[in-house]
Symmetry: C2
Subunit: 247 residues, 2 copies
């Protein structure tokens, strides 16, 4: 539980190497996650080689932790292995569609979170890279991912060289609904975001970016519509190319 | 770590109620998960009312644990709350696209796995319901999910009334690749699936279903192409209707 409640994203890593034994233990924790039908339709690509990390870095907007972390793990939705098994066993796989992609992506993400918690429970630090879905096409090229395989998230991992504070969260009532979904009134929104908007670092963030609200920092600077649309088009093309959009 | 490595899906629950305090603790663990930009674009809908559980049951193919588990949690990709916040703060949200759906789905899934591990660490049992993505349209109706919200997975939760054995997993080398993806040879596939195919329960499964291979039980009985295609169409329509396919 402590590993979960004390989670912070770690972006600076010490040079202390992660032993094979510890890495295996953490990866093994990943494999114990629930997967649909116990099909295990995911893969973990573990990158430690400096050269391969350098090849991956541009796909993650050159965030320094990709090169600096001793271990980079790319979690992939993977029906390739399962499809090959089916074909070798006189079985016709029907997993070239969007539902199957979602099934495999869900597998990969539950595995990723197991790996992260196991890592943190062993004093390692982790950071998720959301860039994976933005640049899936480039990552596919770099890691030689065949048809049936799509990267969905990436985690950097190593011993922490920083101890960042816990980050803020919305109040529980913002994210939990009882029985059915309760739509938010404008008063609810004001109340639920008040603490976040009032944090010194966020006020500073608004000022630095010459905006009038924190929300504008998200919409106009960090996660812009034009970028989202471009990455959406890329990602849908990737699903098509990797064989998940057949009808 | 024990909660992770000892995970088994629990489908039979005792009548012992889950206290509000414990439930809150488990949900709080969910909120500590990493989310993209700390946007927390997910919601957890916690259903305990018998009548609402009965309404949800058909969407989960009437699997008995939906009615029998004391708690059912539907984890949703949710940009609705964030969009409302943006609009109230003179910010134009650009999150009506496929990338934003994936971002929110990833948030929801990491939160779900935190909840499950925290639950298991507190002696509760959990089971994931893969049916959520199959029947998202029905779940949206039942739980009154507005535009911007799509259910991605569901977990049933309660004190276990069974202690199932650990289920099998493929060998680590089946799911872990080093540096880059290593394509499987036909010999690899034979070796990696040999143990799974040789398990007494799986041999029995093949026999009961009058099949010649375990793979055929998946392709012809459990996860059939025709069903997958139908559910894919439904799910893409749901994404469109909930406002995640604008271009």
């Amino acid at each position: 539980m402590n590993a979960i409640t004390q989670h912070r994203s770690v972006r600076k890593y010490s040079q202390k190497p992660v032993s094979d034994e510890l890495l295996n233990q953490v990866l093994h924790a990943g494999t114990r996650a629930s997967t649909t039908g116990n099909m295990q339709v995911y893969s973990m690509v573990v990158t430690r080689d400096t050269e391969v990390k350098e090849q991956l870095a541009p796909s993650h907007f050159n965030q320094p932790m990709v090169k600096e972390a001793p271990v980079v793990i790319t979690f992939c939705a993977d029906f390739n292995r399962f499809n090959k098994w089916c074909l070798q066993r006189d079985a016709e796989p029907g997993y070239d569609n969007f539902l199957s992609f979602m099934t495999a992506a869900i597998d990969a993400l539950l595995v990723a979170q197991n790996v992260c918690i196991a890592a943190e429970d062993n004093k390692l630090g982790i950071c998720y890279l959301g860039t994976t879905t933005y640049m899936a096409d480039k990552i596919i090229d770099t890691l030689n991912l065949p048809a049936g395989v799509v990267p969905v998230t990436t985690v950097t991992l190593g011993y922490p060289a920083e101890e960042p504070p816990l980050t803020d969260r919305l109040p529980m009532e913002a994210v939990v609904h009882y029985e059915k979904y309760k739509e938010y009134t404008s008063e609810d929104i004001d109340r639920l975001y008040a603490e976040k908007e009032g944090l010194e670092e966020n006020l500073q963030f608004v000022k630095e970016n010459n905006k009038t609200s924190l929300a504008q920092v998200f919409t106009d600077v960090r996660y812009k519509k034009a970028d989202n649309l471009q990455f959406s088009g890329n990602l849908l093309k990737v699903l098509e190319k990797q064989g998940f959009m057949n009808q």
